[in-house]
């Protein structure tokens, strides 16, 4: 079993109290699985991704456990996580373009990063240039400064460097969002290729764009306001979702071929609840057209079919 997350709670400390960005999240990812993590801005998807690698100063681990390859990840312990970061779990951050140190050449920066993990640059140099070639970059980039590369090139450099030590789990956070459609396609294709070649075992691809996930992901996990809404194989989420939020979300997506004049799509009325003192029970309740009194209690994230989990009283 690749990753096992059990009842994870990570809050943000603020002066007015805790913001419950990840509030009781339980799921698993199999070996070699690419799981898409989708949701609106502020639903906690990046917080969930980050908490598996790097808890920033304002984030507070509250409860829950994370196991990777049957070993517990000490995500609450910043120092102890150093043994896992980059080697076992790695991340391609949201702003990969600014993830590179502007005062170092790419090669030197990579060498420093490797040394901090006790790995000699020489031993991986050959593999590094092979992988750069795979993503269509020349060895020359190693002697260049980040400013000399275009946005798409920087993105690819970060992808190669992040996966250089063959981590077991890779978290790719909104890596295609700032790119043009043609570059987007190339980068998304590389993720799949990286898994095929065994550079990474399993992946969490975080994005707000479900149509990208339809292309690359095996399973999709939908989050809403700090809770999990639904997890299922990608095709099931798109063609036969069971959670009302997923249903409404999928039906609001314009696809090439749908025209306003012929078929009007509709959004979801209302806005997500604030995560500072969120309401009890199902957090989609206020916007949900099917809500009943039962929704005042939090629905369990129950398995309704093989590999299909839904947190909704109606679907259970």
């Amino acid at each position: 079993m690749g990753l096992r997350v059990d009842d994870l709670r990570v809050y943000y400390r603020t002066l007015r109290g805790d913001v419950r960005a990840v509030d009781g999240v339980t799921f698993g990812i199999g070996d070699g699985e690419i799981m898409g993590l989708a949701g609106e801005s502020g639903c906690g998807k990046s917080s969930l991704g980050n908490s598996l690698v790097y808890l920033t100063g304002r984030m507070r681990y509250v409860d829950g456990s994370v196991e990777l390859d049957d070993r517990a990840l000490p995500i609450w312990d910043f120092e102890a996580m150093n043994d896992y970061r980059f080697k076992k779990v790695s991340v391609i951050p949201q702003y990969a373009m600014s993830a590179l140190n502007p005062t170092r050449k790419i090669g030197k920066m990579t060498a420093e990063l490797l040394r901090s993990r006790g790995v000699q640059y020489r031993t991986v140099a050959e593999e590094l240039s092979r992988r750069l070639e795979l993503v269509g970059l020349d060895d020359e980039v190693l002697s260049m400064y980040p400013i000399e590369l275009s946005g798409g090139m920087k993105q690819r450099v970060v992808m190669v460097v992040s996966t250089l030590l063959n981590p077991s789990l890779l978290i790719a956070d909104e890596i295609t969002s700032a790119l043009d459609v043609s570059t987007q396609k190339a980068v998304a294709g590389m993720l799949v290729e990286f898994r095929r070649r065994g550079f990474v075992k399993s992946m969490i691809v975080i994005t707000h764009d479900i149509s990208i996930l339809a292309q690359v992901a095996d399973t999709i996990l939908v989050m809403y306001a700090g809770h999990l809404a639904e997890k299922a194989p990608a095709a099931t989420i798109i063609d036969a979702p069971r959670h009302p939020y997923t249903k409404l979300l999928i039906s609001s997506l314009p696809e090439v071929g749908i025209r306003y004049a012929e078929k009007r799509l509709h959004g979801i009325p209302g806005i997500p609840p604030a995560l500072l003192e969120p309401p009890e029970g199902c957090r989609f309740r206020d916007r949900c057209p099917f809500a009943t009194d039962r929704c005042r209690r939090r629905p369990p994230f129950a398995e309704v079919a093989d590999g299909h989990h839904v947190a909704c009283w109606q679907a259970a």
């Binding site: 801005s41 479900i210 609001s252 025209r259 799509l265």
Partner: protein, 298 residues
Amino acid sequence: MSTLLRLGGCCKVYRVGAFGGRRLTAVDDVTFDVDAGEVVSLIGESGSGKSTIGRMILRLSPVTRGAVQFRGDDVARYGRRELHEYYRHVQGVFQDPFSSYNPVYKADRVFKLIRDAYFPQLPDGEWRDQVAAALSAVTLDPTQVLHKYPHQLSGGQLQRLLIARALLLDIELLVADEIISMLDASTRIDVLNLLGDLKARGLGILFITHDLSLGNYISDRTVILRRGLVVEMGPTGKVFGNPQHPYTQMLLASVPHLHRRWEEVEGDYERVSAAVPPDRPGSVLVEREPAHFVREAA
């Protein structure tokens, strides 16, 4: 239908590099019209010059060559008073709703600025009625959005407030530059539908986007830009249904679909992306079908 806006051979050349020694042509000889009651989408990748065109129309940036004409008048010749009148009819809404507002003031201050500039004599009661009418046109509840600070409102609400602000004027043309790119999927479609409602009221809308599916959903006509050049333009159904230029075909093949995976169209993609011609000087737009223009080598 009457032509509201006409771009005639518009060019924008920036001077870049040390001492402005190098010239960069951001927009190269772009010609198209926007009629009343029509949505025209301007689609291009980053650096294609689509936002520059929007800025030239709003006179935020001067035109190097060619002209932007509004109802037959050259916009560049407007003096101060005429420009003031021009903005009564032509308004823009931009990508980032959070940076369009001053966070120190309440969000509805944008309405007050309009009143000070255009309706200083109007009595309070009438003004309130007009604001209420504009808010209801963008399906906002006044009690929820008035007297709030920008951080208390969602991106979709802020973006609709900006459109309501434009509706307070006698608006005829709206330049919508990536207005829904930063909104969430569950709310973006409502803002898009709003543009459709405005179109029905007779507004001309220039919808600038990089997202082909959004352009396809809402617009009547489509202009595809590549590095400042129009490569294809025509009725949306024809440009998307029967794309002629290899670049358009390549863009369409790289759009992620929900129900069809890239692998299934992989052959198409390889074929069309190999066929995208390099920029050649002297290429011209040719009318292949009525109103459907495609760039061809001379």
